[in-house]
């Protein structure tokens, strides 16, 4: 009996080891496939920003800004950005749109941090300046895919998020 159990254990252990190895390989294959997919992902920055400006409702008329102005507003270096398009309010509201492509993969973290800092700073400013704008800032969307970032503060946050996800899934 003991001998038969030992004989059974050997193949079971082998199967377990093989299973673990196979699962690990699959994960790595998935990761590499995802990276390849993201690397192949391409977004028309200007067109996306334009769609955000046209398809969403805003309480103020948003005007396109020179990218140099946006670099100053965000405190980022021009070398970190490959392409960028932004639309900003005249100051009457907190509404704005920024869509950008990082110059390289390492820059995306810096750029995302800059946009997160902007959202936090805008909340601080508007808390005393125009408190009614804070709720719109709380609904700000900031989505990232590959080298691309989409940032938008709009009146309808849910609609903005759906549009962003749609564009990032099917550009």
């Amino acid at each position: 009996m003991v001998k038969s159990v030992r004989l059974l254990c050997i193949p079971i252990v082998c199967y377990l080891i093989a299973g673990v190895l196979l699962l690990g390989a699959c994960d790595k294959a998935d990761d590499s496939r995802d990276s390849a997919r993201e690397a192949a992902f391409s977004l028309d920055v200007a067109a996306v920003a334009e769609r955000f400006n046209q398809e969403l409702d805003y309480r103020d008329r948003l005007e396109e800004l020179d990218p140099g102005v946006v670099y100053v507003l965000l405190g980022i270096r021009e070398e970190e950005v490959r392409t960028l398009k932004g639309y900003f309010s005249s100051g009457a509201t907190a509404e704005e749109i920024i869509v950008l492509q990082a110059a390289e993969a390492e820059s995306i973290k810096t750029l995302r941090a800059a946009l997160e800092d902007r959202i936090a700073y805008q909340k601080e400013i508007y808390a005393s300046y125009a408190p009614e704008e804070v709720r719109y800032l709380q609904g700000a969307i900031l989505l990232e895919k590959g080298e691309y970032l989409i940032y938008c503060v709009a009146a309808d946050a849910e609609k903005a998020e759906r549009l962003a996800e749609q564009l990032l899934t099917n550009p």
Partner: protein
Amino acid sequence: MTRQGTSRISNGFRMLFSAFLASVCLRSKNSSKILCENNCFILYNKDTITRETGMQPLKQKKRTLHGFIAVLACFVLIAGAMINMASMKNAVNTAIHRVSSIFAADDQTAADDQTAADNQTASAALPGSSQEADPEPETATTEGMLRDSANSATENTSEKPEGPEDDAVIANTGEALNPNFTDVVEDIGEIIVEDTAEEVVELVVEEDPEELWRKTFYPVPSSPAVDEFYFRDALFIGDSRVMGLMLYSGLTVEATFYTEKGVNVTTLLTKAIVLQTGGNRITIPEALNDLQFGKIYIKTGINELGWRSLKSYIEAYGEVIDRIRELQPEAVIYIQSILPVSQKKAEEGGYFTIPRVLEFNEEIKKMTWEKGVYYLDVFQGMVNEEGFLPEEAGNDGIHLNKEYCKIWLEYLKRHVVRDYGY
């Protein structure tokens, strides 16, 4: 003069005299014969001359030419004499005019004192009211400013006369010139201007220099437009409206902006609003420690219209100016007036009304005079005929859109202070 030249002159006179004789002899029946015997120069009846005198055709041609020259010289002499007579007439008229102006100077001095007193009363009006609406840009030189100021003082409440009477005003006689001299005035206009300049200088000396400075530069008058390059050493400090100028004027490449929404005169220099590359924020004084600017434009006020005490606002504003000047002693400081609000915004009630804005601007203007900085009346540059910010200038009646930020920038380009030695 050389001996050859002298002989030529004498020949010339001889020709003239001969030409005169020729002109007389032409009427005589025997002209051709008399002329031939006297060996005169004559053009016609060439064949007769040739036959009776035996002169060669070449000599005849020379004498024909000489005759032409002689006749022409007569006409030239006569014309010159006529011109000289006209010049003599002008000189006589000038002398008469100068003598009459001396006697009239005493009467004009009394009239000028009265007009200067009237102008001081007029200058106490609201800002911008004594300035022409969008005057023709002119080079704001010292002489130009002094002359314009003096002319505005002499014109006073009476309308400027048109046509030749303009020269009467410039000549400062206090009354129009005799119409008989109007045609002469145009010819000697330059002389009149010189006389006027001397009299203008005398007028300036009599007027209070500080009062003249105030009339000339408060607010900063219109000047030839500069381009964006002028703002390469400019710093703009202010509230959300100035932030709009940063976003939409296109000046971000040339100029520097330290602006933020919601700042007022008490938080402008204490709040960390200057964003450095990398995300760190510092205050304006900290930022100014490392940089030097040529000109600084400061604008606040829209967030302070609701303050109970206008005096507190002005005092705090003055402290901001003092601190900025301490940090940037070489910079020219411009204080911009508060921009207007739209009619729709004003009718909402509250503090955003035109009378409130004007009340604040009047105190700002006085404060800039006391602080020795320049006052830019951008209010006048943006207001419409009804006295409001145009509705199409912005969505909320306060913040300017891209188009009107560019109009604001154009105003700034056309109102700069150049170095006049002050």
